[in-house]
């Protein structure tokens, strides 16, 4: 970071930011504590206040060092109903696969697909995108992420039932294409 003397105004804003961050953590943790102990005895409340304070301080310390950069876009919430629906559909696919394996005695094998994926940088937005894509793909039972390859700019996904990449993965491929990442094709390999 350039500059020898920290700008007092920037320092003040950073301090306020950290304070708000601490308060947000403290409040959430304290609510969690209340949910778990389910009592308003002052001893329990006191312990809760203290424990939440310690944990919030740790959170702020980590945040200040920048170890975890996670800053999702609010708009990504629109994927939630889609994910819920996909979970249901995927469970159906798995049920059919189980049926085929157990009752019809067919051989059922999954496969691995490579999806072009823009890795992005070490910042909050890209970090959040990587984490949430990983989470979403792994949440839906038919798919989970095997590996995110930073150099090759690919996402390795294992599917039990072969399906074309869904909306989420298509969006990631679009994003990758925008950033100039292409693969020969959607390579499908058998494990």
């Amino acid at each position: 970071m350039a500059g020898s003397r920290p700008d007092p105004e920037v320092e003040e804003r950073t301090r306020q930011h950290h304070l708000l961050f601490w308060l947000a953590w403290w409040a959430s943790l304290f609510v969690g504590w209340l949910l778990l102990v389910d009592t308003f005895q002052w001893e329990e409340l006191l312990v809760g206040v203290g424990a939440a304070a310690i944990a919030a301080s740790v959170a702020v310390a980590v945040h200040r060092r920048g170890y975890i950069r996670f800053w999702p876009r609010a708009g990504w919430v629109r994927y939630v109903p889609y994910l819920a629906w996909t979970v249901v559909v995927d469970t159906g696919l798995l049920a059919v696969a189980l049926w085929r394996r157990v009752l019809l005695r067919e051989l059922v094998r999954g496969s691995t697909i490579r999806v072009p994926f823009y890795h992005g940088g070490d910042n909050g937005r890209d970090g959040a995108r990587r984490a949430l894509v990983n989470f979403s793909v792994s949440l839906t039972p038919n798919t989970f992420v095997l590996d995110i390859d930073p150099e090759g700019d690919t996402l390795l996904v294992h599917q039990l039932v072969s399906r074309p990449p869904d909306r989420l993965l298509e969006r990631q491929r679009q994003l990758a294409a925008q950033h100039g990442v292409t693969l020969r094709d959607d390579k499908r390999e058998d494990t």
Binding site: L94, L98, R101, V102, S138, T191
Partner: protein, 176 residues
């Protein structure tokens, strides 16, 4: 039978059925990566159904809230674990890793020694010493020294316990 009871029984049946079906899935699918898929529905529909049943019965009391928290935790945590496990499998296959018995046996020997020392009762200690001797034998074998392993097994499995037991018998026979 009230509506509540019917609902609870329906949810429980559904939840348990999903879990059992997923256990069967984990058993019958051939490849490890294929087995991994079946933990997904088990960590989502089972917990939600059971937590919902508990909430219907208990309302949003301690029990209800904790059940929902547990279910929520399982749903949130499972994708992370599935990815981690899948990644481990993928890396092992890619790098052609075979299990390394050395590390495991070293850990067992390292953990077994304090266990033997910490046992107070001489008879029980004799048994543990015998078990430990066999562990050492396996360690020597894994380290490619079968002759030493053989000696250790003979001593550990027979000679040492015999000596200890005979001594104990003498001592205790004298007491009686």
């Amino acid at each position: 039978m009230s509506v509540q009871t019917i609902l609870v029984i329906a949810l429980l049946t559904f939840g348990v059925a999903v879990e059992l079906a997923c256990c069967v899935g984990v058993l019958v699918m051939e490849d490890a990566l294929d087995k991994l898929h079946y933990i997904g529905p088990a960590a989502i529909f089972g917990p939600l159904a059971i937590a919902l049943a508990i909430v219907i019965r208990e309302g949003l009391s301690q029990a209800g809230i904790k059940s929902l928290l547990t279910a929520g935790l399982l749903v949130t945590v499972n994708p992370v674990l599935t990815h981690a496990t899948g990644r481990a499998l993928y890396i092992r296959r890619r790098d052609h890793l075979e299990p390394e018995p050395q590390v495991t046996i070293f850990l067992l020997v390292g953990g077994g020694a304090p266990l033997v020392v910490a046992t107070r009762d001489p008879l029980r200690q004799a048994i543990l010493a015998s078990f430990f001797g066999i562990l050492l034998g396996i360690l020597f074998f894994v380290l490619q020294a079968p002759d030493v392993a053989l000696s250790e097994i003979v001593i550990g499995a027979v000679a040492l316990p015999l000596m200890i037991l005979l001594s104990l018998a003498k001592i205790r026979g004298g007491e009686r």
